[in-house]
């Protein structure tokens, strides 16, 4: 079914239930490509494999339900103002795809470029962000520096009083940055991929990776039987180390809980996304009216999908300092996701030492913004067996060669 105004009208008047938007097939014994993980990145990879590379005999294997991991747990911030050229190119590639994504997928992902403010609270912040602004503008990416007065004009509820413990000394603003509806991204890619013939197999946990005498992958063992595939693409986020260990590989990853929470819904009060790395808070308002707030990662590695309450409390203290009007809001829900963090805070996308095994991981605390770009370049990498040029610097081998892509300043916590 193609969504349009006419379809909406017809459904409204006939009162029929909306049909299922993707098939739920039994897994076939053999596929050309098996993707491990049906989050946004995995589903986008499947979609672009089918739509741009003609590889439609693809399975996306998901141990839970699609979009139930970090795709459904993040704070949906989209921006591309990264410092290093390689990162800026990758995230800008994604941002350009976001701009046309609803039309491409015929599914409203509610991409809303409302502007992302990154607050500077110290002299060091000011210098770092101004350097970011200059680097981005040289790379052709919009990013501008705002004084405290301009910052408050752009975001009226923000407290820019000099009396704050860490006063707002200015902000970097990317106007094309914003938010999107996270579930719709997973559903939109799932629907579009399924329509092109991709099998999305949920409740199907990969338990082993099979390899031949030469070491190349031949398929996977799952809780729903053996599935043969000459190419396996692991897009398992926080569980990447666990899946890669099935092929005997150690990864430069550590998995941490990252928490977020939402407030009770209120009328529109916050016109943009506000991020503060220094006092650690990031917040935006969803279309339902809830404030969506991101906290820090816990300090220790964990797979528990739950973090310490003191981490959340810290984020809320920062929010209340920046936005005194939010102090009486009640919080409705909080939750955790497991993020896979690399030593240089940049993702790992590309080939592995095991023939036929590809990996897309290490997006850490900020993978959502990259979803379309990540899937797009990873699909090309899997299809051709060599890295797409945009993603070539992000190879696993960089930890051996020493060509790290250090984004710790941009992305240490609030990515």
């Amino acid at each position: 079914m193609r969504f349009s105004f006419a379809t909406m009208l017809r459904q409204a008047f006939t009162g029929n239930a909306w049909p299922e938007q993707w098939r739920s097939p039994e897994p076939k014994p053999t596929y050309d490509v098996a993707i491990v993980g049906a989050g946004g990145h995995g589903l986008a990879t499947a979609y672009y494999l089918a739509s741009e590379h003609g590889i439609r005999n693809v399975a996306v294997l998901e141990k839970g339900w699609l979009g139930g991991g970090n795709t459904g747990r993040n704070t949906t911030i989209i921006r591309s103002n990264y410092l290093q050229d390689a990162s800026a190119a990758l995230y800008e590639h994604a941002l350009k795809l976001w701009e046309g994504l609803s039309r491409t997928l015929n599914y409203n992902v509610m991409y809303s470029p409302r502007g992302v403010l990154m607050l500077a609270h110290t002299e060091h912040d000011v210098r770092v962000f101004r350097r970011h602004v200059h680097a981005n503008r040289l790379a052709g990416i919009d990013n501008e520096w705002l004084t405290p007065e301009q910052t408050q004009r752009f975001c009226p509820p923000l407290n820019v009083s000099p009396d704050l413990r860490y006063p707002v000394l200015g902000a970097a603003l990317q106007r094309r940055g914003g938010v999107a509806r996270h579930d719709a991204v997973a559903w939109g890619y799932a629907r579009a991929a399924s329509a092109l013939g991709v099998d999305i197999v949920q409740n199907c946990e990969v338990t082993a990776i099979r390899r031949d005498a030469a070491g190349a992958v031949t398929g996977v063992e799952t809780t729903r039987g053996t599935i043969a595939a000459r190419k396996i693409a692991v897009v398992a986020a926080g569980h990447t180390s666990v899946v890669m260990a099935m092929a005997g590989l150690r990864m430069p990853l550590e998995s941490f809980p990252l928490q977020a929470l939402v407030s009770e819904p209120v009328k529109p009060v916050l016109p943009c996304v506000v991020m503060s790395n220094t006092i650690h808070a990031y917040v935006s308002q969803s279309d339902k009216g809830e404030l969506v707030i991101g906290a820090a990662t816990d300090a220790y590695t964990s797979y528990s999908q739950a973090g310490g309450l003191h981490v959340v409390t810290h984020a809320l203290e920062a929010i209340c300092e920046l936005f005194p009007t939010f102090r009486r809001l009640r919080m409705l829900r909080n939750w955790g996701g497991i993020v896979d963090v690399t030593p240089d805070r940049s993702p790992i996308v590309g080939l592995t030492p095991v023939p036929g095994l590809f990996v897309n991981c290490g997006w850490g605390t900020g993978g959502f913004k990259a979803t379309p770009g990540s899937g797009h370049v990873f699909a090309a990498t899997v299809a051709h067996g060599e890295p797409h040029p945009i993603v070539a610097p992000f190879a696993l081998d960089r930890f051996r060669s020493g060509r790290l892509i250090d984004e710790a300043a941009a992305a240490a916590v609030a990515h």
Binding site: S241, P252, A299, Y300, S304, H310, P343
Partner: protein
């Protein structure tokens, strides 16, 4: 917040401590004799297990000493803490 038993000071709240990553990773005695793979493994590769994880902590706002901790990364339950230099205890 975890309640962590420092081997020297007893049980204290987590925010007195600073975690320092995976334990029992020995720096190669002669780094210049390492090949790139061994050095990469030492610097960057981590086991990141789902289950029992041996990790270093430092009682930063206490005695200041490093020690090791065996913790289940699924439940976050601490199985044991022990002074640095001791071998890793069994998971159960």
């Amino acid at each position: 917040m975890l309640l962590i038993r420092c081997p020297f000071c007893g049980a204290r709240p987590e925010n007195e401590f600073s975690p320092s990553g995976e334990a029992h990773i020995a720096r190669p005695p002669d780094p210049s004799a390492c090949d790139d793979d061994a050095w990469t493994d030492f610097l960057y590769m981590r086991s990141n297990p789902k289950g029992a994880h041996a990790e270093r902590w430092r009682h930063l706002h206490g005695c200041g000493r490093f020690f090791n901790c065996l913790r289940d990364t699924i439940s976050d339950r601490i199985i044991a803490t022990y002074p640095a230099g001791q071998t890793r205890p069994d998971a159960e």
